[in-house]
């Protein structure tokens, strides 16, 4: 599997989650799981909303040990990551555990590009971190991914909180988020370049020829027929 995964794989993977373990009985005031489907009002930052709900979920667990157990629950809920995806191009550097991250851009909904993420690790705690970050950012707009910071995840107050040692090379939250953002930028830049090349090709075939002196000038946009 190449570094940039086909978005269709993500849709299939999210439907075929890893077998769920028996859920532990949690306190009565436990906040509802963020995986529950809920329509988002227009204009609401989905990623921030999910992060807030995830933070509330962890904060509702008073004991640190319960938060660890919840983190491991999230680890078990991470969809299966194909063996073929465990390639160096998908490895997240810097973590003490091995972490793999697959990234794709999905044009599925209303023509807007959304980022798709899948992750895995050989450490259960790192896997739990990955599951939390993927829960928040999978399906987010590129700009939502790029404006998120490691400190934002400090609100979860779970073991290995990213609020500590943000710049430490072993901070999994930091490493995974930076990797997500870097590859989001790369994907978006590659798409823009491809669109520019396509637009340049269409002009050459039409009445307006693009010369070298016109490069960098603002080109009239051809409406997207799709």
């Amino acid at each position: 599997m190449e570094a940039t995964a086909d978005a269709r794989w993500f849709r299939a993977a999210s439907r075929s989650c890893a077998p769920r373990r028996q859920r532990r009985r949690l306190p009565a005031d436990f906040v509802r799981c963020v995986h529950a489907a809920r329509p988002f009002p227009a204009g609401v930052d989905r990623a921030r909303h999910r992060l807030g709900r995830l933070a509330n979920e962890f904060r509702s667990l008073p004991e640190p040990l319960d938060r660890v157990k919840r983190l491991l629950d999230y680890a078990s809920e991470l969809p299966a990551f194909p063996e073929a995806g465990r390639v160096p191009a998908n490895a997240v550097s810097g973590c003490t555990a091995r972490v793999w991250l697959a990234v794709a851009a999905d044009d599925g909904e209303q023509g807007r590009t959304r980022m798709r993420f899948a992750a895995d690790s050989d450490s259960e705690i790192a896997k739990g971190f990955c599951s939390c970050i993927v829960t928040v950012l999978d399906g987010a707009l590129p700009e939502e991914v790029l404006e998120m910071t490691t400190e934002d995840f400090g609100a979860l107050e779970v073991m290995g909180s990213p609020a500590r040692a943000v710049n430490s090379r072993v901070n999994t939250w930091n490493n995974v988020l930076i990797s997500m953002q870097k590859r989001t930028r790369e994907l978006m830049a590659a798409r823009e370049e491809k669109e520019e090349q396509q637009e340049g090709g269409r002009f050459l075939c039409g009445t307006w020829r693009r010369s070298s002196s016109d490069r960098g000038a603002s080109l009239p946009r051809i409406p997207d027929k799709s």
Binding site: P64, V68, T96, R98, D122, M159
Partner: protein
Amino acid sequence: MAASLCHFPPAVSSSSSLFVGSKSRSLLLAVSPFKHFPSKSSISASLPWTRSYAVSNDAAAFSVASPSDLRESPSLGEITRPDFPILRQVVNGFNLVYFDNAATSQKPSSVIKALSEYYELYNSNVHRGVHYLSAKATDAYEEARNKVANFVNAADRREIIFTRNATEAINLVAYSWGALNLRPGDEIVLTIAEHHSSIVPWQIVAKKTGAVLKYVELTKEVPDLDQFKGLLSKNTKLVVAHHVSNVLGSVLPIDEIVDWSHKVGAKVLVDACQSVPHMVVDVQKLNVDFLVASSHKMCGPTGAGFLYGKINLLSSMPPFLGGGEMITDVFQDYSTYAEPPSRFEAGTPAIAEAIGLGAAIDYLSSIGMEKIHNYEKKLSEYLYYQLSSVPNIHIYGPAPSDTVHRAALCAFNVDNIHPTDIATFLDEQHGVAVRSGHHCAQPLHRALGVNASARASLYFYNTKEEVDTFIQALKDTIEFFTTAA
């Protein structure tokens, strides 16, 4: 394998309040009558342990004595702990158990005071000024060099070069001696168990010079000395070897390695980062050509380390870094260089840090390196055999015995639990600090067939009770992850 562990009491019972589950867990602390460091008479009067028992192959067969039978006098760890303010803190609700000394050691009050006093009383640049403060700073800085020279028994104080750390010291040798002396086809022999700082600089210089790196592999999780002898040839120009492995805990016979290497005309560079802090290291007795160590692993501050090099070698080596201090005269188109050690200490040095290293040497010397080594030998054996009792564990490196000395550190893995999960849980739920990862020894971990390991590394201020706490915490951690799976 049966081994006799003399003078060492077995573990306390699991019902002790020292173990996990009780946030009121407290460590036994002897009240130290000493302001800065313990006196030799006090330490010599305290016998480590007096009970002896035989160890069988089954570590679980250890006899368990009652707490009242354990000791007749405070251990070295209990006597020295009060000198280290950082060890008194509570982490995540538990008294800190600091078992990451191979990464860096803690600093006694005397070293912290030496650093403060330098900046409070006589901070000034060294070697150039004629005023009072500069003279005092220069004297203290050079006195620190004398202390390092005496500590490793260097023949000449000029053989001690202050560097930022051991890594910089190795790079100094690589870029100065290596660049001058290595030719295409020349061989550098090093073990697969070397720290990255002993590998990467030689990879870089080998690429520039055309030299070739040859690695000594493992046999039974220690470097294969028979293979090492077989790799030596007239093409071998340099042997790079650790004295004590920061992962395996094994100790190499440096005197023999030097003897074999010199017979083929090769120089020897020894990484003594894990030996100088823990035992007597005599560079003349070992007859090494180069030796490096770091201040921060021997109770000294970070930002300082040293290179020992035989004076005839250093005198023949070109500068590493250029700038002030290392010159004699500077003209527009050329410069002449100072003699060692100044030739290799360009710019304003880490003055406070070197003075702090000197204070650390004073502290260690007041205890006595032999006493430190003897205490840690027993702590090492206790740690190893207690850790061996944990189910599904694999400890890397040799088992300690009467003939095999092992450093007081154990890198290990537990089946089906990632070492990072173990280290994280030990910290968050028990206040126990161990390290997880590759410990700057990735080639070694690949040779061992793993990606990472957890490592507990002790120093003379750690105690048997802390080992007991660590073992119980580890068992609790394993039970948690086993249940969660």
